[in-house]
Symmetry: C2
Subunit: 416 residues, 2 copies
């Protein structure tokens, strides 16, 4: 028997990833012509499967396979097709390929799902482009705020509203809503961490998604001086100040984990590399970003407050001044036990026992959950992390997860 | 009486600083057409004073006022006219202006100095452009090594040999030598530190120059990962590793000073700001430079060894790999007591009592001293450090130092 799941996964990954800015890795900016072109790949293939394709005002794509009960809340399955700059082949694309494979499996065996199955391709999930979380899904849910449309894309400096219009969207219609009524959403996604790979497990069910607080454009202002002539005592060295801050946050992070709290701290970008920086100068300026994540919103408040205290301590000790810039925040989400249980049962019927785990990365699923949907995620084992050109995934692991989903909603034997 | 010293200083500073790449600050790269144009300012003004102008194969400029004893070792006085990128108005230029003012004072009062007075304008003193120390003075002394001509300028990527030829120089002739015979060199320079400004003293006599060791292009290789998905334990975060290294060197630096050793440690450039760096990624790469200075060559060895140990410790603890790149080094120099004593006496005759101090920055004087010259420096009070657009100096302080030099070699009344 032809393995339509594996074939669909391979075909979609290869077609989508042929669309990218020059490498290394894959780059499809949010609301770019490249992202739109990747959406058209899904439109063509979904059309060929006989699904009904539509787009909302935010240019999210929905490809619908009618279910037996057309009035029951539909099952949306999917992910996104934008990438971070120089990202990998699977973050986003794997979930869309998995959703299409699930639909193809139903079509292949001529089976009607119990409710409408909607392959879902969101827009602008990677917030490195616009400093706004979950843009596409929140557009679909009519939960974007007017001021968020003024956020500027990091590469072009143009607003979200402008880029959305360029790709055929209608910001005013997004704001008017009403947005999708609550239904069910399952997002398939690579893990982006080493836990499944280390454990040797092909996929997992996600029970919570970490939220995050981040300063994307923080600055330390010190005092420029000559590297040989300025005595140690009088220096206001922005790099030593930054090192103190990182070291303090490292201690705090370790302490929070030891106390059983969930936290991750990352300084993803450090810039003391302008034309004015040189080996013979005490650096007077340093830019950085910081990202703190937790599955507990109260812990985010706590981490933020400890971070602010650390900045104050460093500022006093080093004679520097911090300008943290704007704070952005995404809230943690506890996912739906009902959906998780249904998929655990479907998987069990095929002899699989996926673990429950927490997602460190933020995902559209959080936005659906916060809008009152039943929502959960399926994580696929991967290696070399994600958001980099080297991220790895075995398509057979994704196929196994898709078979578990097929078993959960379709043929109890999961024959697809 | 017209103050020829003050007038000469003002005129030369303003003419030289009119020559620069666009601001902020002043930029005249080593062996650039701009540096050559600044040299031509001195050529014109020296010619107008009746001095004899010559250039050596390295395109250093010498403007000679004959002395009473033409066979005695001449007194070379001067500094350089190149700047760091976006440097200040005085680092280098003040010393050249002071030397021209000294010559103008002799000419103005019709007095012949005891030995030839040679206004000296060296090339390429700022080693941010080529990773080689004291290029111009070592060219004049025939102490450059063949391989140093292959060093590439940081902005153009072209070699020292190419740039020297572009400005009219002859690398082969520099290598053939024989170079200048040992004589006397006095370099006038801004302090580049806050000591004189804090003490309220206009100038000082420098008794030693710190040497330095530096890695200009060091790299930390970690592992890229997702900022939310990668557990703390498995991370190889290049930024946390760098912070550990800076913190370790901060401790070491403090310890060395407490033990009475002379050391300064600066990380002047940190680059984790490529297109691949983003807030949602654990950074897998970081570039930095480190500069360690001391007036004691043995302390430089010790600091280097402590630095290497710190790198190893960090590499083990953080799972990262260091690639330090090429090491460059300049040796500390103890300056000439005879010259220092002579100027101290000249100053004392005018009622001045300049302090003795150490230079944190490296200077051409070190190269002359190492070539067996009698050599010393005069430091001028300045503020806001140097190597930045804000460096400040009162020309009246420079004029006071020039009067002390005039008194040391000329009219015992220092009337100039």
């Amino acid at each position: 028997m032809k393995d339509v799941i594996a074939e669909t996964i391979d075909a979609i990954l290869s077609e989508v990833n042929a669309i990218s800015l020059p490498g290394p890795g894959y780059t499809r900016p949010s609301y770019s012509p490249l992202e739109s072109e990747a959406h058209r790949v899904i439109e063509r293939r979904a059309g060929a499967l006989g699904l009904t394709v539509s787009r909302d005002a935010g240019m999210n794509l929905f490809a619908r396979l009618p279910g037996r009960d057309r009035t029951a809340p539909a099952l949306f399955v999917g992910s996104h097709l934008d990438t971070v700059p120089m990202g990998g082949a699977y973050d986003g694309a794997a979930g869309v390929a998995g959703a299409m494979a699930l639909a193809a499996a139903f079509v292949e065996r001529g089976e009607t799902p119990p409710v409408d199955l909607v392959v879902t391709v969101t827009r602008a999930e990677e917030s490195t482009w616009f400093p706004v979380s979950y843009i596409g899904s929140r557009a679909a849910l009519a939960r974007l705020k007017p001021e968020e449309f003024e956020a500027r894309r990091s590469d072009t400096g143009r607003t979200l509203a402008e880029h959305m219009r360029d790709e055929g969207g209608d910001p005013e219609a997004v704001l008017r809503g009403p947005g999708l009524a609550p239904a069910q959403f399952v997002e398939i996604h690579i893990e982006q961490g080493p836990i499944l790979d280390t454990a040797g497990e092909p996929f997992a069910l996600v029970e919570a998604i970490r939220g995050g607080v981040r300063y994307r454009n923080a600055q330390i202002h010190g005092v420029w001086a000559h590297s040989g002539g300025a005595p140690r005592e009088g220096r206001a060295d922005a790099v030593f100040a930054f090192a103190d801050l990182v070291t303090a946050m490292d201690r705090i992070w370790g302490g929070e984990l030891s106390s059983g709290r969930d936290l991750a701290v990352t300084f993803g970008r450090v810039d003391a590399a302008s034309g004015e920086h040189a080996f013979a100068k005490v650096p007077g300026e340093l830019g950085f970003c910081v990202d703190m994540r937790s599955n507990d919103d109260a812990e985010l408040d706590r981490a933020l407050s400890l971070f602010h205290e650390a900045c104050e301590t460093v500022a006093r000790a080093r004679g520097v001044h911090f300008d943290l810039g704007a704070l952005s925040r995404s809230r943690p989400a506890v996912l739906s036990e009902g959906l998780i249980g249904r998929i655990a049962e479907g998987a069990a019927r095929l002899g699989m026992g996926p673990r429950l785990m927490v997602s460190g990365g933020g995902h559209d699923t959080a936005a659906f959950r916060q809008a009152g949907w039943e929502a959960m995620m399926v994580f696929i084992r991967n290696w070399d992390g994600s958001h980099n050109p080297r991220e790895g995934m075995n398509p057979a692991d994704l196929a196994e997860a898709v078979r578990a989903l097929a078993a959960s909603w379709g043929d109890p034997q999961g024959r697809a």
